[in-house]
Every structure is written in structure tokens, then in C-alpha cells.
């Protein structure tokens, strides 16, 4: 990580706070899943926190994001409410989607969070359409489309980049290359002789590759792309290289022992972004140990509140079944 501190302290605090909140949220969800409180499919974002956080803190509150099946981090980083998110994962009516969507469909339309998505690549069209909408309404809003390395192989990715470039839409495509699509390694499914960004460059998009475990680098890359898009400079592309430290989902036993070694995993843990940023904040004397502890205590309290909220919330009534089919 950079050894100059050129971001202001409030921002740095927020970056750490959100990253930490995401980590703790995921750990909590994992715990509650094992107890049967969290239900459905659960894909954890542990190890990738710097990407969502760095990108979302470069956005305005009314900017849009589209998320993925691994979406808790995006929602939290964009300012979403962990209480309602956790309640959703538990299938409670107080959840973001009244318990009807679950983890893969959590959304907060008022915060511009257009939704997680169960379809790999499901966000491409929506994000680009939101950007088209913002441009038509002249609203100054930028949209960020988060997607995985696996999703980069869905054809619609190319279709929307062509349109985004043709119409110079304010959208930034952020590829979270966490080295896996489910149980398949990145380079077994995706041409790796060229960077994924080459696909975007083929449409004239400015592209950048960034260390996705370095929240400051991510933030800066995102800020540049977002500012350019907002200023009318058209779409951008960022590949954030990170690593998925948990299994693909909770059903992936042994944290992926079918497709990676313990050594690889241990090695990657040494580069994990939350501890790394914490160490950097200390080292560069941005915050003292006690200040960090204080932030962490706030996060803990917020998580505890979320757990209580979810636990205390009722499941949806059966009458909910046929509601919201049509608006």
C-alpha cells in the first residue's frame, strides 16, 4: 500500500469502518447459517471487502450500484442497513425484501442499490440501463456495475459495453477477480493471456487493473473512473484483483479443498484486506490502537443490534405469498 497519506481522516475512518462491518457481517451470517437462522444460499464476501468499500465510498448517495449473488459487501459499503439485510437473510418480514428475496436479491432502491442478483451477469443490463436513464434525466448520477471474473464470460457483458461506449453512458464496470467462479479456477474458464480489461478496451473504455486488497488503491481508481463518467467522459472499467477466502457458498466444504491447497489459502490470508488496512492505518499513524478499537466496538454494537433485530422479527405471513407479484 501507498506510504503517503493523502486522503482525509474522515474518509479513512469510513473506509475502515465499512470494511470491518462487512467482515463482521459475513462472519455473523456464517455463524447464524450454521445455527439454521440464516437460510437459503449464502455466498460470503470475506477477503474482498476492500473492493466494495473502495468503490462505494467514491460514489454519491444517489448514485446506483448493481450487485451480485455475493452482494452483502456492496450493499453495506453503499450505506445499506445491516439490520434489514440480516433480517432478509433470515427470511424475516422486516428484511429488505420482506423475506421474499433473501441474500441473492437484497436491494435498497432508495439508496440506489438496484439489487443483488442470482443470475451471474444479471447486473450488466440493469446497470447500463440505469446509466442510460441517468443520462436521459440529466441527473448527474453514476452507476457502478459489480461483477465477478466468472461473469465476464457472459455475452451480455460485451453487448452492454458496446452500448455504453456508443452512447457514452456514465457507468463503471468493476470486475471483482477473486480467482474463482464457484469451484473452477479463473484461468480454467477465462482466457488469461489477456487481462479482462482488454475486453473493455476493445470498446474504447479506459481500463485499469488494481490491487483489490488495497482499499486506497481501489478508492482512487474508482474515484477517477466515477468522476470521469460523471463529467461526461463515458464508461470505465476496473479490474480489482482479490481473492475469495471462504468457499463458494456455505455448501462448499472445507473452504474449497477440492480446488485449492491449504497453503494457497494460508498465503492469501496473509494478504487479506481488513487486517492489512488496519496495519497501514496504525503504521501511518492515522489512528491509534485505541481509536481503532473504538471503531471496532461501534461495529460490534451495530452487528449485535442487527442480530437482535433479525432474531426478534417475525417471518412473513402466508398472505404475503401472493402479494407483490404485480405492482
Amino acid at each position: 500500500m501507498s506510504d503517503v497519506v493523502d486522503l482525509d481522516k474522515a474518509l479513512l475512518r469510513q473506509l475502515y469502518c465499512r470494511m470491518r462491518l462487512i467482515r463482521r457481517f459475513e462472519e455473523t451470517a456464517e455463524e447464524l447459517y450454521k445455527r439454521g437462522t440464516v437460510v437459503g444460499l449464502l455466498h460470503l464476501y470475506i477477503g474482498e471487502e476492500a473492493v466494495a468499500t473502495g468503490v462505494c465510498l467514491a460514489l454519491n448517495e444517489d448514485d446506483y450500484i448493481t450487485s451480485t449473488h455475493r452482494g452483502h459487501g456492496h450493499l453495506i459499503a453503499k450505506g445499506g442497513d445491516v439490520k434489514r439485510l440480516l433480517a432478509e437473510l433470515c427470511g424475516r418480514v422486516t428484511g429488505y425484501c420482506r423475506g421474499k428475496g433473501g441474500s441473492m436479491h437484497a436491494a435498497d432502491l432508495r439508496l440506489g442499490i438496484l439489487g443483488a442478483n442470482g443470475i451471474v451477469g444479471g447486473g450488466f443490463g440493469i446497470a447500463t440501463g440505469a446509466a442510460l436513464s441517468a443520462k436521459k434525466r440529466n441527473s448527474g448520477q453514476v452507476t457502478v456495475c459489480f461483477f465477478g471474473d466468472g461473469a465476464a464470460n457472459q455475452g451480455i457483458f460485451m453487448e452492454v459495453m458496446n452500448m455504453a461506449a456508443l452512447w457514452q453512458l456514465p457507468v463503471v464496470y468493476v470486475c471483482e477477480n477473486n480467482h474463482f467462479g464457484e469451484y473452477t479456477r479463473f484461468d480454467e474458464a477465462t482466457v488469461a493471456s489477456q487481462p479482462i480489461g482488454a475486453r473493455a478496451a476493445a470498446f474504447g473504455l479506459p481500463t485499469v487493473q488494481v490491487d483489490g486488497n488495497d482499499v486506497i488503491a481501489v478508492y482512487k481508481a474508482a474515484k477517477e473512473a466515477v468522476d470521469r463518467a460523471r463529467a461526461g467522459g463515458g464508461p470505465g472499467f476496473i479490474e480489482a484483483r482479490t481473492y475469495r477466502l471462504r468457499g463458494h457458498h456455505m455448501g462448499d466444504v472445507g473452504f474449497g479443498r477440492r480446488y485449492r491447497t491449504k497453503e494457497e489459502l494460508a498465503d492469501r490470508w496473509r494478504q487479506e484486506p481488513v487486517a492489512r488496512f488496519r496495519a497501514w492505518l496504525l503504521e501511518n499513524q492515522v489512528f491509534s490502537e485505541s481509536e481503532l478499537a473504538e471503531i471496532e466496538a461501534t461495529v460490534e454494537a451495530e452487528m449485535q443490534e442487527a442480530v437482535d433485530y433479525a432474531n426478534g422479527s417475525p417471518v412473513p405471513d402466508l398472505t404475503e405469498l401472493t402479494e407483490h407479484v404485480y405492482a
Partner: protein, 328 residues
């Protein structure tokens, strides 16, 4: 001064689009060749000149992407009307339509709204063969969250399209390609026809012909023949498959005691099955004969004209089926 002219179906649709574009600044059209060229069936002719390139957008050939962008735009305050040139090409956009557009309102617990219309040309008759002639309404009607509209007349087309556009849900609007030139009276003023209300296109006593889209004309002409044979046929046009006005259909069948359901989609597992099954169940005690179904032939639509014609339900089939119901 209700100024009612004779318009073609294409003109009626264009008029609805133009009036809604004027009325609602959040509305815009997108599709392949719909702008400068005015669409391959000339339906959108002149609209780009009138409303500009931002309101009437030509797109790349990217059906999935187009539908996807429309979903995103609909979620964020716009009201897109997409044209998918031939309904066969819906297959390329199914994920966007079925997994995203149809389900987002529900999956987000009511937060998201997707006010989106997808207009698409359906039906055989132009020698365009198996990939340009399908009628996939059964698919669309199967999916909760979608509304499905099938206008049979210019009047219905204008009024139903306006309702579809003003609806807050994704609506699939199926336009029969052979009917674009069909003429009929259309009021010049603003009017809407609610989605979910069938229309009795001809009243009768002896047999109910439930017919969709261009099959309404087939049913009407069969009814004419049958009248000459002393059989009084009632023609009921559901107008929308979803919502389906089953009360109107049942009311008619309870009166006549006999029913034939006609739709151009493939017969098997098609639209006629749903309507026939509902009638056979809910009008069971009123039926004097089994409910009959006439659908498109269960074959990929062939190019050769005589073969192609044989795939489309026609008057003769309807008349003979009706005769069969009376044991003739």
C-alpha cells in the same frame, strides 16, 4: 368531437406511441432499426423525426442487452418501450424478461417497479420460416409478473397499448405481423382499454369461439359461415392473456354450452390448453360437448407457402370443428 377514422393496426400503434411520447417525458422507445428506418414493419415511421434520437433510439443487434438496459431504465424512473423485431428473438432476451423484469418487484418485496413494455411481432404468414414466425405467447403468459396483451383490432391495439405503457409492470405486447395492415375505426382522442377485460366481438347463442389476436378474424369469418348453417357463434376475444378475463369466457360458455379455443401458437402446451382447461373445469356442468382447441401446427414453421399456410388455424378448421360439436 370524437373524430374516429379508419386506421391500420400499424397506424393505431404508432398513434398510441406518439400520443404517449407527447404525454409522458419519461417514455422512450428503443429497438433495432425503429428510428430512422421506422421499423421493419413501418410501425414507428416518423417518430424519430418527431421526437428525436433520445426518445426513439436505434440500438445495436443485442436483444439481451436491449432488454437488460430497459429493465435498468425502468427501475430508475424511465418508462421504456422496447421493440423486439420478431417474437422469435425474445428467446435471446428471456433471462432479462423472465428472471429480471418479471420478478424484481416480488423479489425486492415490492421496492422495485419495472414499467416496461416489450412490443414484438408474432405469427406466420410471410414465408419467413421457422425462426421468424413463432407465436410464443404461451411462454410469456406462463410467467408470474408479466402481463400479456394480444390486440386483434386497431381500436384495441391503441387502447391496450396505452394501458400497457401506463402500467407499472412489464407488459409483453404481441403484434400479429399479418394484421399490421388490418383496418378499423380508431378514435383520434385519448382512450384506454383496461388490461384484463375480454371483448365479445360477436354475440351468439350456440357455441363460443374464444380467439386471440388474428384468430379473432378467423373466428369471425367462421361465425359468418356457421350463421349460414343456422349455428349462432359467439366470438370472445380475451385481449389479454394475463390477466385473463375468465369470467367473460365462462359466462359465454355457460350460455352456449360449447366452446372452441383458437390461438396461433403451437397447439401442444399452448394458450388454448389453459383456456380450454379452465372452461372444462369451471363450466363443467354447462358443457354439452367437449371443449375443442385449434392451435398452430406442432411443427417448426416451414417456408414453402402452402405448408406454411397449413400451420395457421383457418376458417375451414373452425367451421368443421364447430360442426363436429353439433354432431354434423
Amino acid at each position: 368531437m370524437p373524430d374516429t377514422r379508419e386506421l391500420t393496426m400499424a397506424e393505431a400503434i404508432r398513434e398510441a406511441l406518439a400520443e404517449e411520447l407527447s404525454r409522458d417525458p419519461t417514455l422512450f422507445l428503443m429497438g433495432e432499426d425503429i428510428g430512422r428506418a421506422g421499423g421493419v414493419f413501418n410501425v414507428t415511421a416518423g417518430l424519430q423525426d418527431e421526437f428525436g434520437k433520445d426518445r426513439v433510439m436505434d440500438t445495436p443487434i443485442s436483444e439481451a442487452g436491449i432488454a437488460g438496459l430497459a429493465v435498468g431504465a425502468a427501475l430508475t424512473g424511465m418508462r421504456p418501450v422496447v421493440e423486439i423485431m420478431f417474437s422469435d428473438f425474445l428467446t435471446l432476451a428471456m433471462d432479462q424478461i423472465v428472471n429480471q423484469a418479471a420478478k424484481l418487484h416480488y423479489m425486492t418485496g415490492g421496492q422495485a417497479r419495472v414499467p416496461l413494455v416489450i412490443r414484438t411481432g408474432m405469427g406466420a404468414g410471410r414465408g419467413a420460416a421457422a425462426q421468424h414466425s413463432q407465436s410464443l405467447q404461451a411462454w410469456m403468459a406462463h410467467i408470474p409478473g408479466l402481463k400479456v396483451v394480444m390486440p386483434a383490432t386497431p381500436y384495441d391495439a391503441k387502447g391496450l397499448l396505452k394501458s400497457a405503457i401506463r402500467d407499472d409492470n412489464p407488459v409483453i405486447f404481441l403484434e400479429d405481423k399479418m394484421s399490421y395492415s388490418l383496418k378499423g375505426p380508431v378514435p383520434g382522442e385519448d382512450y384506454t382499454i383496461p388490461l384484463g377485460v375480454a371483448d365479445v366481438k360477436r354475440t351468439g347463442r350456440d357455441v363460443t369461439l374464444v380467439a386471440t389476436s388474428s384468430m379473432v378474424q378467423v373466428a369471425l369469418s367462421a361465425a359468418e359461415v356457421l350463421a349460414g348453417e343456422g349455428v349462432s357463434a359467439e366470438v370472445v376475444d380475451p385481449r389479454t392473456l394475463k390477466p385473463l378475463d375468465k369470467e367473460a369466457i365462462l359466462e359465454s360458455v355457460k350460455k352456449t354450452g360449447r366452446a372452441i379455443v383458437i390461438d396461433e401458437g403451437y397447439l401442444s402446451y399452448g394458450v388454448t390448453a389453459e383456456i380450454a382447461a379452465i372452461i372444462a373445469d369451471e363450466a363443467f356442468d354447462y358443457l354439452d360437448a367437449p371443449v375443442k382447441r385449434i392451435g398452430g401446427a406442432d411443427v417448426p414453421v416451414p417456408m414453402a407457402p402452402a405448408l406454411e399456410a397449413a400451420t395457421i388455424p383457418n376458417r375451414r378448421q373452425v367451421v368443421e370443428t364447430a360442426r363436429g360439436l353439433f354432431g354434423r
